[in-house]
């Protein structure tokens, strides 16, 4: 019963990209005959816009239909999880339909999902903090309500979300790297190493040394050392001065 989830938990440690993660999740989804799975950042994840997918098989006819019709604006599931302070318990589509007084349009979305062979689904809210919520949605033609399967799928969703979050935050940190190295206008700027430029860029993004340490995965002392070097190389006394000088010298343009 738990072999698939144990294998998944072993293999997820070796995953280093969202694509690999999606392939790994797909293996488990296939076992439970789930055709649709998607994890959406509802709000709060700083490296991704609200309502953007984090991982999942989102290039499918149903998802394209859903997005092109703007269903995310009125979908009962998205509204349900946005508004309440729930305890993170997963729920089935049919439970939501039974409990909530849905609008006509909202029923229509479920009807169209049914026609697209997504007859029952499971929604797993993942609340990381009061300001951050992700939603995993899974659905299929032969989806059955079963407490053990729900527990397994919940585990897969939680661990995959954790991994995707780590990967996306890491990639976000690398993307912030200034891409105009060597073409900086002022000679002072070319004395900075790529790492120092990266730290400077983060400082200009209103990140504290503690935040930068966490984002880049090094200790706060390392960040402080980089900061000290930046100040020395730019001939300023504070990091405010360093950021101001970097802006004046066009580093961020």
């Amino acid at each position: 019963m738990f072999t698939a989830v144990k294998n998944f938990l072993d293999e997820i440690n070796t995953v280093s990209s969202v694509r690999e993660l999606e392939a790994l999740v797909q293996v488990v989804m296939n076992q439970y005959d789930i055709q649709h799975f998607i994890c959406t950042n509802m709000y709060g994840l700083e490296c991704l816009s609200d309502r953007k997918p984090m991982f999942g098989n989102w290039d499918t006819p149903w998802v394209n239909h859903y997005i092109s019709n703007g269903y995310y604006l009125e979908d009962a599931i998205a509204q349900h999880d946005n508004g309440i302070d729930n305890d993170g318990r997963p729920y089935y589509w049919s439970e939501l339909m039974a409990q909530k007084d849905l609008a006509k349009n909202q029923y229509q979305i479920f009807r169209e999902a049914w026609e697209a062979d997504l007859r029952e689904g499971l929604v797993i809210p993942l609340r990381v903090s009061a300001r951050e919520l992700a939603l995993v949605s899974m659905a299929g033609r032969n989806f059955k309500q079963n407490p053990e399967v729900r527990g397994i799928l919940h585990t897969i969703a939680m661990q995959a979300h954790r991994k995707a979050r780590d990967i996306l935050l890491k990639e976000y940190g690398q993307r912030l790297m200034p891409d105009r190295l060597g073409r900086v206008p002022h000679p002072d700027m070319s004395t900075l190493t790529p790492t120092e430029l990266n730290v400077l860029k983060f400082l200009a993004e209103d990140k504290s040394p503690g935040d930068i340490a966490i984002i880049t995965g090094v200790s706060i002392n390392t960040i402080n050392r980089h900061s000290a070097n930046i100040k020395q190389k730019l001939g300023v006394r504070s990091l405010y001065g360093a950021v101001a000088k970097a802006i004046r010298y066009g580093l961020f343009h």
Partner: protein, 294 residues
């Protein structure tokens, strides 16, 4: 500051522990509806509240409880090998002197903030981790609600599932809970990262001397706290002296601090004193504390 209460200093906290059991009844039985935990006397005490249990309590200056948690050894019965014994389907709960189980986390005053604006759970978790690292504990396992596990995604922790989320309770009018067994790997690096993330620069453990504890919000390194506890286990008669020295060393007036340090230095130099080791008191020295509020 976080008070650590174990079998060595339990006699100093009898009334506090009584209040804690009543408070737990209030929170877990009355507010959360876990009727199975109810006792006729209104004290929520279960089979895991033994002499070996260590309690971590955040107390206000009047020794009233703001929040707390307990830690039990895994060498005896634990929640995960008794009540929830079928839940560890992914991995077993590690057993041994380096592995503990935590449970009964509660916060009475969720709006409380420390002098530098930290919520109670920052101090409580930091206190537990500081103590655990100093004690050489390598893991803390426990059955927690799934929502709490998701919140751990933000933390630099190696926090794993031992089982899958399941429903529990739901009989005799109790609510249906939703939780799972988990394990948190503890080491110095994760403690350091946690403190950086929460901007907790100072230690958070109090000397844990019961009502003798100086009221100042100054924390001590766990090693100091443990050394003092060890000393007082052999010399309980010196508790007032240790407490007044600790209070003096935390005084904002430098002359008081210097006078206290000089007194202890004199005691250490006095070779005629054989029954009292002033060296242990000297460990509570100014270099071990910071007057900055946490």
């Amino acid at each position: 500051m976080i008070h650590v209460i174990d079998k060595v200093n339990r006699h100093l906290y009898l009334s506090v522990l009584e209040e804690m059991f009543q408070l737990r009844h209030e929170i877990f039985v009355k507010e959360r509806g876990w009727k199975k935990l109810a006792k006729p006397d209104g004290f929520e005490i279960d089979q895991f509240d033994t002499e070996e249990t260590t309690y971590f309590l955040k107390l206000d200056p009047d020794m009233h409880i703001i929040g707390g948690m307990r830690m039990c050894p895994t060498v005896g019965p634990t929640q995960l090998n008794t009540i929830f014994k079928d839940s560890c389907v992914l991995a077993d709960q590690p057993v041994g002197p380096e592995h503990y189980e935590w449970s009964r986390y509660f916060i009475k005053d969720t709006k409380y903030r420390s002098a530098s604006g930290k919520p109670v759970f920052y101090e409580l978790y930091t206190g537990i981790l500081e103590y655990a690292v100093a004690m050489g504990i390598r893991s803390l396992s426990g059955f927690i609600e799934t929502v709490a596990y998701n919140q751990g995604a933000n933390m630099p922790w190696d926090f794993k599932q031992l089982g899958i989320p399941t429903e529990f309770g739901g009989t005799n009018g109790e609510p249906v809970g939703y939780g799972m067994p988990t394990i948190l790997a503890v080491d110095n690096t994760m403690l350091r990262k946690t403190k950086i993330l929460w901007r907790m620069r100072k230690p958070v453990l109090s000397l844990s001397l019961g009502e003798y504890t100086p009221v100042s919000e100054v924390g001590f390194k766990p090693e100091v706290m443990m050394a003092v506890q060890e000393f007082l286990a052999d010399h309980p008669e010196h508790i007032e002296f240790v407490a007044s020295y600790a209070a003096a060393i935390q005084n904002v007036d430098p002359t008081v601090r210097n006078a206290a340090q000089n007194t202890v230095a004199d005691l250490m130099d006095d070779s005629s004193i054989t029954e009292f080791s002033a060296a242990i008191v000297d460990r509570i020295n100014a270099s071990q504390i910071s007057m900055a509020m946490q």
